[in-house]
């Protein structure tokens, strides 16, 4: 089982779908950001899995995974900063209360 690429890809798909569900369903902005992290991890898993099963790409897959992590870190920093900034203005972390866009 652990010798088959399919298993890893299915695992990553499930993780990605859990993340999608969380992003769409959670009302808390931070929970949404966590869901995004889950999705990014799923993608990263796919990259590494493909690398592991393709000998000539193994090193590159690791490099790409590292870079994705760094970018994800940057994304998390800015995202959380925005959440905090909005929270300070609106006094709530619940995203469905942020509907100024409607007006």
């Amino acid at each position: 089982m652990s010798q088959s690429l399919d298993a890893y890809l299915v695992l990553a798909s499930l993780l990605f779908c859990i993340g999608t569900f969380g992003f769409l369903a959670r009302r808390n902005a931070i929970a949404m950001l966590m869901s995004i992290e889950l999705m990014i991890n799923a993608v990263n898993l796919v990259i590494v899995a493909f690398g592991a099963f393709t000998p000539e790409l193994a090193d590159r897959a690791s490099v790409i995974a590292l870079i994705v992590m760094a970018v994800a870190a940057a994304e998390a920093t800015v995202g959380l900063a925005i959440v905090i900034a909005i929270y300070r203005n609106r006094r709530t972390p619940l995203v469905d209360e942020y509907h100024s866009m409607r007006e």
Binding site: M1, R27, A31, S35
Partner: protein
């Protein structure tokens, strides 16, 4: 102590056992993240999920990625998320407020998407579906990173710097439009400077990444 080739009584390979353990743990923790009513527990579940994923990376023969996963995700991002949670939680709201009204639609979408992806994975003919797994030599990765990928590597460092500055700027309290007494009062109730916290955490991540990478670069 030598282990038998397969797990006793179950007749499955040790690798498979590890895979099932880590995978199950990861998915369960991920479900905990999205379904948990307590946001702090969600954050902690996320750490567990990341840790299990690090194990899978190790299983896939990518020890450097596994190490980075632990350092960056568990060490930095999760801490950052927990900080943010503590800064933004007033009092935990009623349970019904955790999910959106559209949660059922989101669940449906997620399930359909999962079916779609799984059927796609199952239906696709991978060129080397049963190829031998490769173990990645950390030295090779480092050489690649500082040779062929040096430009993306540097660009990422600039991106991180920009993220740090942006984080500090966004989360910084604007004192100008708040009367002094009120600003002081808020400082007391919140205890710490939110912008400072996230900014510091972000710079921590950036330096951790760079230090780790440089460490590896020096090793070969």
């Amino acid at each position: 102590m030598a282990l038998p080739p397969t797990v006793p009584y179950f007749d499955i390979a040790w690798d498979d056992l590890l895979f099932l353990t880590f995978g199950g743990l990861m998915l369960a923790a991920a479900l905990g993240v999205v379904l948990g009513r307590n946001i702090i527990r969600s954050g902690l579940a996320m750490i567990l999920s990341f840790a299990a994923l690090a194990g899978i990376y190790a299983l896939l023969g990518a020890p450097l990625v596994a190490a980075a996963q632990v350092l960056i995700y568990i060490g930095a991002i999760s801490v950052l998320v927990l900080f943010a949670i503590m800064l933004t939680q007033s009092k935990s709201g009623p349970a019904s407020l955790v999910f959106h009204h559209q949660a059922w639609a989101a669940a449906l979408a997620a399930i359909v998407l999962a079916l779609l992806l799984v059927s796609m994975v199952a239906g696709a003919e991978w060129p080397r579906a049963v190829a031998e797994r490769v173990h990645t030599a950390t030295g090779d990765v480092a050489r690649l990173l500082f040779d062929e990928f040096v430009l993306p590597f540097e660009v990422v460092s600039v991106l991180l710097l920009a993220a740090v500055i942006g984080g500090v700027f966004l989360a910084k309290r604007e004192d100008t439009d708040v009367p002094e007494t009120e600003a002081g009062a808020r400082q007391v109730t919140l205890g710490s400077e939110p912008g400072g916290a996230s900014g510091r955490a972000a710079s921590g991540i950036a330096s951790a990444t760079i230090v780790a990478a440089e460490d590896l670069g020096r090793r070969p």
